[in-house]
Symmetry: C2
Subunit: 190 residues, 2 copies
Amino acid sequence: MARASLRENLVAAAVEQFHTHGYAAAGVKDITDAAGAPKGSFYNHFASKEALAVVALERYGASLRLEGLRDSSVAPLTRLRRHFEFLRDENIATEFNRGCLVGDFAVEVADHSEAVRESVRMSLEVWADALDFAIAEAQQAGDVSKTLEASTLARFVLSAWEGALISARADRSARAFEGFFTVVFGLILR
Amino acid sequence: MARASLRENLVAAAVEQFHTHGYAAAGVKDITDAAGAPKGSFYNHFASKEALAVVALERYGASLRLEGLRDSSVAPLTRLRRHFEFLRDENIATEFNRGCLVGDFAVEVADHSEAVRESVRMSLEVWADALDFAIAEAQQAGDVSKTLEASTLARFVLSAWEGALISARADRSARAFEGFFTVVFGLILR
């Protein structure tokens, strides 16, 4: 019991530390300190910081509320809009810092760790699949043109979101999010 | 003369080292070694690694061929397409590693350095202005709908590009670039 709980604390602390400081800048000691754990306990639970990063990314992915994109009680375009509104509001709440941990790891770690790169790739794939599901339903409902495939639109919209986070972070403003909603819901998903 | 040349070497080495390894992972010694300069010489030229990062970002910005977006001898949509084809081909040539130094710094450094954040913000602004110029000309020529403002489209397309680099890097493939060209030139800029 105690062990499982310590491991959980380490994962939660890692998500927070990686997201706030970045992968390179968040050391094992920062993570164990934040988890209230002795540094020596780290390697009882994880083979390396890299191995913890993969678990942290899975944990982060579970916080993205992808299940909402498959909730058939809500109209598909409404689901899509709410999904990005939720992500936007989270980013505004952290004052445009942090970005998305998936994109952060893609930029900072993917070139240097095959395990993290594969984990980022899978995270984006699962996310794009959930968007694809909602967009395909919107196409079936006649709310979005079928000119382009739902999977192409889903991957593009996800990239545009990751890019909007980059601009918002540089700009410390929600301007990039406004542009995202205007173009995605005014031009692309219609 | 010798001093100016050493400074140039340090800037060129910094662009390469930051782009390849990231900001945190590229140390001052890595940069002086790559420039063939003694480590002690660094602080004759730059107050800090952060100050060098700002200069490196300006240098990188000058390599983006933004001037091509204002070349009135070429049709505006052709300029826009060639601009992103050039960036795509560079990214394929580096095997989908590295991404864009502007986006890399936005993700890794902007939260932690006000000087770098401001430099990233300016880089994106100058880049978006050049895209805006070409898109506005395409609208004037009747090649792109005027429904949305050129500046909104320009900022969105730039974000979508930065996001496509994230996907390409995670995926080690050009698939995200294909989606970018399909949606940008098939749906947004028309």
